[in-house]
């Protein structure tokens, strides 16, 4: 008879080292975030100041470049570096708040739909279908028209139109999680529905939420620029990355730096967020810690 057969020694678990990729992501994001926060102190020029004598100057390392405009100037003679630094405030701020908002709405509805099923599920999924059927940009246009363009309205609209991404993926995941035995076990051990959802179901649905959130952040930055481009978002002359990108497209052939630098800023941000998201996902998953 052996009841105490499996007394294996407990080995200390090695702590997971922060990988190079995660460190790079964190570093880049701190850099971007920091320069956005301290843009007024860091920017050499007023981002709205037009210097028509210095229009379309290339970056400083090129032939007609000027040292006081390291990344060149745009068609109105505004300093690109200063506009990127200031633009980051809007783009990152709008992107992060909009993603948080849409994640909150989407994850909540997805959890409810997937977990309770039945009528709640049918209702929520029909709403999702409606949102998917209407082009989100059209929806956003309508709402912003009605409410009037303002930063807050833009964030609300972006959050309220993109939550379906979260809702769908969370619902699909929860549908399979709720069938797993540990959920039935947790119910048998007295977990009430809310605690069951928050303690047992949600943590096991984190991975797709993080993946969607990092992708959505990139999307939101572009989305904001699309709204701005249509005159529905942040109003010029307030610089945003998306707006600069859209604006610079007209000059791609003659002045590549107009679109390239804001594009690089967006790319770097998305890359950093993605790397950090990967790391976060792995860190939150105990199975990957050995």
């Amino acid at each position: 008879m052996s009841v105490t057969a499996t007394m294996l020694p407990v080995v200390a678990r090695p702590r997971r080292r922060v990988s190079f990729r995660a460190a790079f992501g964190l570093g880049a994001l701190l850099l971007i975030g920091g320069s956005a926060v301290f843009a007024p102190q860091l920017a050499p020029w007023d981002p709205a100041r037009q210097m028509l004598t210095k229009r379309l100057r290339p970056p400083m390392w090129q032939a007609r470049g000027l040292r006081e405009h390291p990344l060149g100037t745009d068609h109105l003679g505004r300093d690109i570096l200063s506009r990127i630094l200031h633009g980051g405030r809007i783009s990152l701020g709008v992107g992060l708040t909009a993603v948080t908002l849409s994640a909150l709405i989407g994850v909540t509805l997805g959890l409810l739909a997937g977990f309770f099923g039945g009528r709640a599920d049918a209702l929520i999924m029909r709403i999702v279908d409606v949102f998917l059927a209407i082009p989100y940009i059209l929806l956003a246009m309508g709402v912003v028209f009605a409410l009037g363009p303002s930063l807050l309205n833009v964030i609300l609209v972006m959050g309220a139109t993109r939550w379906v991404q979260f809702a769908r993926i969370v619902r699909a995941d929860v549908l399979s999680i709720r069938e797993r035995e540990f959920v039935a076990g947790a119910r048998a051990r007295g977990n009430r529905p809310l605690r069951l959802l928050l303690r047992h179901v949600l943590p096991n649905a984190l991975t797709p939420i993080i993946v969607v959130a990092t992708l959505e952040l990139a999307f939101m930055i572009i989305y904001e620029s699309a709204l701005s481009f249509l005159g529905l978002g942040v109003q010029p002359p307030t610089p945003t990355w998306g707006w600069m990108l859209a604006d610079g497209r007209n000059y791609v052939a003659t002045a590549w730096w107009l679109a390239t630098f804001p594009g690089l800023a967006i790319m770097l941000t998305v890359l950093a967020v993605n790397l950090l998201g990967d790391w976060l996902r792995d860190t939150l998953d105990p199975r990957l810690k050995v």
């Binding site: 008879m1 052996s2 057969a5 499996t6 294996l8």
Partner: protein
């Protein structure tokens, strides 16, 4: 000459955390028309042994030593093309989960006919007729209609029959059955075991039965090899294993099972857990869990020795 002989087979998996010695010096032979059971718990190397015989060990696994002779020809010397001709035609395999080895987008009749065509050639029409005949042989009711079904349209038991028909269509000399009834309900398992027994006798085919279930072994096998930590620890005719097991591991395994004469009484169990196959420790792999282990067990690895006629044991302390 034995139909199949395996000598000193070693198959290893190089992983980031060290080399896993999944099969560590296994030798046995199967005669024509014989059913040999290869029995062990999960991770003991029984499935890797069968995959090694087919030369289908998935990377990073590699056969690093040994001989595998089929009618005297060494399978390890064959090139990929020659090996392909051996698989299916001379050695066939049946797996635990037929759904994974039947192609979901073809009817089972098409799949069996394709196997017939590949190995024998001939006309499509004739191959189809052979497929229906094979389904009839494995006792699939109304085989002509079932041949037009897709795998998902069949029940678990019928699927396993279709899988056996597919394996036997080219008329192999050796059938490797890897846990063929483990996923089935007990009444269906009984039907499949009966079917395998009948087909084996009719065709005079040799069978290597891989299983964790000593009950299934008692039903079907002529001889049994007990495998532990990649090594065969005991090999004997089936009656001997159950009547007079010699190796402490075999005895432990048998006493772990609920038995009608002991219902309700505590089962004896084997202390501890199987060893980590990455270790390269000297000595008997079972020594840490063995109630009879003596000092020398931990130092010298015991060789498989014939202690009774036809009864091999790798244990110097085993009571004989």
């Amino acid at each position: 000459m034995a139909l199949l002989s395996v000598e000193g087979l070693r198959t290893q998996f190089a992983t980031g955390a060290g080399t896993v010695r999944a099969v560590d010096g296994v030798s046995f032979a199967i005669e024509r028309g014989e059913v040999l059971g290869l029995v062990g718990e999960s991770g003991c190397g029984k499935s890797v042994t069968s995959l090694s015989i087919m030369r289908l060990v998935p990377p990073p696994g590699q056969i690093v030593a040994g001989r595998i002779r089929l009618e005297g020809e060494d399978l390890l010397d064959k090139d990929a093309e020659a090996m392909r001709r051996v698989r299916g035609a001379r050695i066939a395999m049946v797996f635990q989960e037929p759904m994974t080895s039947l192609n979901p987008v073809f009817t089972i009749g098409d799949q069996i006919a394709a196997a017939v065509l590949a190995h024998e050639g001939g006309r499509r029409r004739a191959a189809w007729d052979r497929a229906v005949e094979m389904l009839d042989q494995v006792q699939v009711p109304s085989p002509g209609e079932r041949a037009r079904d897709y795998p998902h349209q069949l029940s678990g038991g019928l699927r396993q029959r279709a899988m056996i028909a597919l394996a036997l269509a080219p008329g192999p000399q050796l059938l490797i059955a890897d846990e063929p009834t483990t996923a089935l309900d007990v009444t269906i398992q009984a039907q499949i075991l009966d079917l395998l027994r009948r087909l084996q006798a009719e065709r005079g085919m040799a069978v290597l039965l891989i299983t964790h279930d000593l009950g299934v072994v008692a039903e079907l096998c002529h001889r049994v090899a007990i495998i532990y930590a990649g090594r065969i620890v005991e090999m004997a005719p089936v009656a001997r294993i159950f009547e007079e097991p010699l190796h402490p591991y075999t005895r432990g395994l048998l006493r772990c099972l609920p038995h009608p004469s002991r219902f309700g009484q505590p089962l004896s169990s084997i202390e501890g857990a199987p060893p980590d196959l990455r270790g390269a420790d000297a000595g008997c792999p079972f020594a840490p869990r063995c109630p009879l282990a003596i000092e020398s067990c931990r130092r010298h690895e015991p060789a498989l020795a014939e202690r009774r006629p036809g009864h091999f044991v790798a244990c110097p302390v085993a009571v004989v």
